[in-house]
Amino acid sequence: MAKAFNRHFQFLGSSGGAKPSGRLWLPAADVYQVADGWVVKVELAGVAAEDVEIEVEGNTLYIIGCRKDRSCAAGGSFHQLEITYSRFEKTLKFPASIDGVKLDHMFENGLLIIRLHKGDE
């Protein structure tokens, strides 16, 4: 029994087997501080712009969305699948409140780039 247990654990350790996980895909993100605010880059290649929602609440920035496989319906057959198609939700906390900042976002080479401009008004 202990062996079985061990095997499980070893298996987990070595082959990335059963692991506790959340239900969501958590895309990678970079955050820069620039002169007039912040720049956030999120690795969201293949995500349609309309599938992404961005929200600000206090000092937190939420990026919520879903990556869907839109190219597979044509009846082809997968030989290999490595890209995660899943709902995602990225939560980023900032050191100060970002309420009232001006947001704009754009996709550039598969990255979602969000600029947070401090209000200059």
Binding site: M1, A2, A4, F5, N6, H8, F9, Q10, L12, G13, S15, G16, G17, A18, K19, P20, S21, G22, R23, L24, L26, A29, V31, W38, V40, L61, I64, C66, K68, D69, R70, C72, A73, G75, G76, S77, F78, H79, Q80, L81, E82, T84, Y85, S86, R87, E89, K90, T91, L92, K93, F94, P95
Partner: protein, 824 residues
Amino acid sequence: MAEETLQDPLNETEVNIPQQLEVAILPLQNTTLFPDTVVPLAVGRERSMRAVESALSTEEKFLGCITTKSEGVTGDEAKYDDLYQVGTIVSIKRMMRNEGVMQLIVQGLERFRIVEWSGEQPYLKARVEKLPELERVDDEAIEALKRNIQGMIQQALAMLPQVPPEIRMAVMTQTDPIQLSYFLASVLDLGVETEQKMLESNTADELLSLTHGALARELEIMQIRSKIANEAQGEMDKSQRDYILRQQMKQIQKELGEDDEGGEKAEAQQLRERLETADIPDDVRKEANRELKRMEALPQSAPDYHVIRTYLEYVLELPWRKASEEKLDLNEARKILDEDHYGLEDVKERILESLAVVKLRPDSKSPILLFVGPPGVGKTSLGRSIARALGREFERMSLGGMRDEAELRGHRRTYIGAMPGRIIQALRRVAVNNPVMMLDEIDKLGNDYRGDPSAALLEILDPAQNSTFRDNYLDLPFDLSKVFFIATANSLGPIPMPLRDRMEIINIAGYSDREKLNIAKQYLVPRQITENGLKPEQFEITDAAINLLTARYSREAGVRQVERTIGNLARKVALKVAQGSIDKVVIDVAEVREYLGPPRFHPEEARKEMPAGVATGMAWTEMGGEVLFIEATALPGGSGLTLTGQLGEVMKESAQAARSYLWSHAVEFGIDAEQIKQNGVHLHVPAGAIPKDGPSAGVTMASALASLYTGRKVRTDTAMTGEITLSGLVFPVGGVKEKVLAAHRAGIRRIILPAQNESDIEEIPEDVRKELEIIPATRVSDVLKAALEPASFDENADTQRFTLQDMDGKKGDATTDRLMAKES
């Protein structure tokens, strides 16, 4: 700085799965998938692969995973009824084809329940309903279970050192009990049923208590297994543990041993110093140094250590070169000998001769003397006197009863408890190498399978060999040639010839009554007076009393019993003195009888009346001499010669020789040969309980038989000794002095001795000799002439002779009948 939160429970419900949906169903064997876990799967069966492919072709890659409840049913064969109703929707994260098998990594998302099956082919497909999040009924119970579970996980991880740290972290930091439970359920091999039950749990409470139970069971199994494993390990490790313990012990001993070594060093050092200063021969020192080195190399606890130490101490204590100073003055020696002993002139003379040689050649080998004589004649005290005369140490050892050669020569050191022999021990005691060493009772040496001590004495007593006497224990040559050995024995007989040969034999015969009187007056009485706390003026004993003591209260060749009886008397007087009497007590014959009772011994007196057939002989014993009577009687009609009285072979044979001689010379002695032929004869020598042997009773037996056959009595005042031959010669015998003295004591006044023993007559004290008529005999006829009374015709005096005379006239059966009738 911006930071990422791993999860936000608020948003969990946001997983974008419709409440109801149609998904491809992947049947799983022996595995249950749980939400919130990432699990690798391998899919190889056709239908299952079609289901996965179908899932992959959807935008969100959802797949329903359901476990088959029937055993042995493969994914291809599974019917609706073979499957549970509740499963998990997973999202396919990775897929790779590998030799016709699809390797998947799936992430569990939500639990679902089958609403309606919508097809079995080409793959299982169903309409499913997402199950709601787990309810939490009792938060406190959940918290308690959670803590318990976490505690158990810690215990389990403690027993599983090989679990990688990231898994540990993930498990330990998992705060959500439901996710933790699902993870544990997927990790632990709990069995399909339990796992399914956990999956189907609708409340957190239920799930957690199932997890708790399962985990507790697992933990217990692990503990038992670990215990068993430990025990097995323990068994295997025992030898290793012993080894380690021994090493530790060695270390400890070493720690402690440093002190010991200090002690050893000191001891060894001491021995070394003594060895350097000791006056010992070089070869001995060399050997001792060798042993000392060996000892130093040994730990004090080694048994050999003490063996060697004792050995070295022995070597150091022996008088290798130390001798006591000689102060040999022959006149002084003579004076000392005379002081200590009365009489024994010839003995003293020979001792002085030996001492003279020692004086003239101090480096000569010491003589080895053997004193032979009855007990109590002063052999031992002579030895002491010699030591005194020489000014040397005196050491006496009794060899009586010694059976083991090793007692004399020691045991080899290999034996436990080995000791040097008695000789070396004695030398250590006296601490000089030239003592007078008395080997008492050398004739009483025994021997058995352990060896013959007399053989060892051969070396010790040989002046040519004993300068390199090698004791087994010492294993070093020790020079015994300076030792003045004196041996004593009661008789020469038991001493082996080679041993006898090595010694100068000095016979000390018994004392005559006159000598005893003088000894008593000069030595015994004064000694007993002092020993019993009297003063000379309180105690006197007359000569007559002493003579009575020697004659009637003791029977011995020496003076030991006499001294004891004098001591007895002295004690009686001492009692009187102690009670207040101040008068001088004079012991005379009457007082002797009063104090000691009637005489204990009746002297072996010459018999006043002896019938024909009885003769008086003389015997030599270790106690001195004795008178004995030989009785012969005819057995009419019997035959042969019957001999009784514990006679030895030699004595029996001399009896036969006597009879044969008389028979063959019957005419010469006036004996009727027919008588001898027709009648048996019985010869008896009292006292019947004392064994007797030797040829010296030959003449006595011949006289007794002649007396019987001729009817002439043997003279009662005559005693005789001598060996006879078949041709009628009389041969000389030993112990003449003792025999004559004994006969004289017994009141005999005529002694028949072999003519060749005449030289011994001079040894007989003058006072005794002049009271005796000594008749030398060379032939049996001489003996018979001197011994037998002239023919007597007194019928009343001798019935037997009467009978025999009758027999002369009337031969045959009638005579015998008459004789028997008369006897009865």
